[in-house]
């Protein structure tokens, strides 16, 4: 299959060889960096470097179509989506690297090195013949060759890939989309609910009719009763708030009623409003 994809003309073998070795070092270094860096964004960027190197190699092998697909689809679209997702999740998110099983990392590292050595030795010793000469039956462009394979030999797997895409879309819907169970309340519903609750206007904002500006003092309603909902539920509302006093000119305002006074060390601490 890649024989077809790679069918093309190699112009200058020395230049190609040189560029290959440069790119190979860059690609392997970037791939290693991808798994070693901690930040997900850096991983994605390293992956982009690997993909661009691969695209260049495809182009050098005489597969310009594959090279451009690699750049446009993978580097351009898929990887940018990766970046979007990472940005959405949070750019600072880093995986926990606590070893839950003791010595796991060491064992995994040794096993990985072992597999690497085994594969490197195996592939290094394998006698890989020279590349197949460009096949004349697909003409100069490899686009026709790919089309031929997709629509003749591999037409069934090509079509079945559709099932994979549908599964992916469906799965994303199942995992991420929350269906609204109750209908969304309209403005009319909200108005009806408010009328039915008996309190048509909202609670007075803190400070109106208030004697104190402490956050745990409930606001007072026009009739002088405390509005319990004006205190955050995490606080313990101080009860026994008195109705507003009428302070006549010349009179000294009566500071700090008997209730709750023991909770305040300084008498003037919570009564700024009354003093002013």
């Amino acid at each position: 299959m890649t024989g077809v994809l790679a069918a093309g003309t190699n112009t200058d073998s020395v230049a190609v060889e040189t560029v290959f070795w440069i790119l190979a070092v860059v690609a392997v270094a970037a791939a290693l960096a991808m798994i070693l860096v901690r930040r997900a964004v850096h991983c994605a960027i390293m992956l982009a470097v690997v993909m661009l190197c691969l695209a260049t190699m495809y182009a050098m092998q005489g597969a310009p179509f594959l090279a451009f697909v690699q750049i446009i689809v993978y580097t351009g679209a898929v990887l940018m989506l990766f970046l979007f997702v990472i940005m959405l999740i949070g750019i600072t998110a880093a995986d926990s690297i606590v070893e839950t099983i003791k010595g796991q990392r060491l064992a995994a590292g040794l096993a990985a090195i072992g597999l690497l050595v085994l594969l490197a030795l195996g592939i290094g010793h394998a006698a890989i013949g020279p590349a197949a000469p460009p096949s004349p039956k697909y003409g100069s462009g490899n686009l026709t060759g790919i089309a031929t394979l997709i629509f003749t030999t591999y037409v069934f797997p090509f079509e079945v890939t559709g099932a994979l895409l549908i599964t992916a879309a469906l799965g994303a819907m199942v995992l991420a989309h929350r269906e609204r169970i109750a209908p969304r309340p309209t403005q009319r519903d909200l108005a009806a609910r408010r009328l039915a609750s008996g309190q048509v206007v909202g609670d007075p904002p803190p400070g109106i009719y208030a004697l104190h500006d402490s956050a745990d003092r409930p606001a007072l309603l026009p009739d002088g009763s405390p509005a319990a909902s004006s205190v955050s539920s995490v606080l313990n509302p101080r009860t026994g708030t008195e109705p507003p006093q009428v302070v006549r000119p010349g009179e000294k305002p009566q500071l700090e009623a008997a209730d709750g006074g023991e909770r305040e060390p300084a008498p003037s601490a919570g009564s700024g409003r009354a003093e002013s």
Partner: protein, 538 residues
Amino acid sequence: MTGTAAPAALAAHATLAASAPGAISAPPIEYSQLGPMLVVFGAAIVGVLVEAFAPRPARRGTQLALSLGGLAAAFVWTVVIAASRQVFANGSPGHTAIGGAVGVDRPTLFIQGTIVVLAFISVLLIGDTRFSPFVAQAAAPPGATAEQEGLAAGAMHTEIFPLTLFAVGGMMLFPAANDLLTMFVALEVLSLPLYLLCGLARRRRLLSHEAAMKYFLLGAFSSAFFLFGIAMLYGFSGSVSLAAIASTAASNTSNSTLLFAGIALTGLGLLFKIGAVPFHSWKPDVYQGAPTPVTALMASCTVVSAFGALLRVFYVAFGNLTWDWRPALWVIAVLTMVVGAVIAITQTDVKRLLAYSSIAHAGFVLTGVLAVSTAGLSSALFYLVAYGFTTVGAFAVITLVRDPGGEADHLSRWAGLGRRSPVVAGIFAFFLLAFAGIPLTSGFTGKFAVFQAAIASGETALVIVGVLSSAIAAFFYVRVIVLMFFSDPVPDGPEVVLPNVFSGTAVGVGAAVTLLLGIAPQPVLSLASHAANQLFVG
């Protein structure tokens, strides 16, 4: 795909040079022989459309009918192809369809038929919404208010049905795939929906999420290894077709390093799906965390499908290299049987217990695979049928034994169950005896068949290990039976709910087939040996 099919278009791509440049002559597409798979995939796609357009109250019934109907039609179609004079004319072993991508032969049809029937039973369990094991709103975080609202409103993800059908379609293609590229696509098609379904348990959702995550990550790794192996084999033979790999392996003996690396890596990918021992660590966690009907689907259909693919790859592509891969697979089979049986002893969770039992059974089937003969193939096929029905039935029983918070998974909760619900406990004990391979159950016939085939191929040592690990396995099965029948019932123990049509059918069919294959296995045995009479087409 459009256009008229040339008569000799199978070889069309080879003669493209003769035609006009740029012209592609479409290959013939044998719709009638791809029918079972196309029906299942078609039903899945219609199911997606139902999700999009049908009103919510109508969805569950429609999806259930569609899934069951699609699977039933696929089974009938499979039988029609298997009986077809045209496909198997003059003792032909079958042929490859649609450009050589899919093999239509008797072993494949046998496996596909088995998968479809087992999937039918699993879909019955999935459709049993009385104590739905599936989450109401997967997007709601565990413990959130939205989750409670979803539960209160009786919400249900009916997308589960098309996802199951996609998985089943992939499972049917997996053993039929005649080139490694198609096989890889099928592997992904069958795996992706299963990763999703594993994470949709209603209760103990974090455990379920963990199971899905583990399965996904490890499955992705194993797929990558499989793909790496395909690349090696392509480098060796210049083709991904199984037959071409086999013929290159027969002619080219100089460059075997790539071939062996390819065998090892593709084998790894396949053995992971089976759950053979160095690659088994996902199985207990995933089986425990997944919703029980999905566990039933994975334990039966996925195992059958993966064994079908393993048999096809090792018999067709590496059939000439038996001496090379047999020792490695021998070690894996021994490890699988012994480790599966020994670790199962220490388990305290019923689903984990059955997961380790499934690992041990994978080892027993590998014994049949290692025989590398028609007898080995037919015994492996028979074993898969027997094990598949027993395991579906056993998981169906697990859905019936319930605590207030869900299924009673912990083994200690099962103590004394036999005194309180003798029928359900008796049926479960029967399934366990079948797993253990006691005579008069399908498990005995299956084990007898694979061991016989292995001895006939000179694998006596393997059979001795198999018998010994059967004995170890029998110990923990019997321990559960003793726990159920001879220990005092736990106070406020689990409630055994009466099975309804869905779970009742699953338990009943599982028990009936287990019994029938134990008492009168001859029809299925001869069907399996008839199917295996001619090996896979290449």
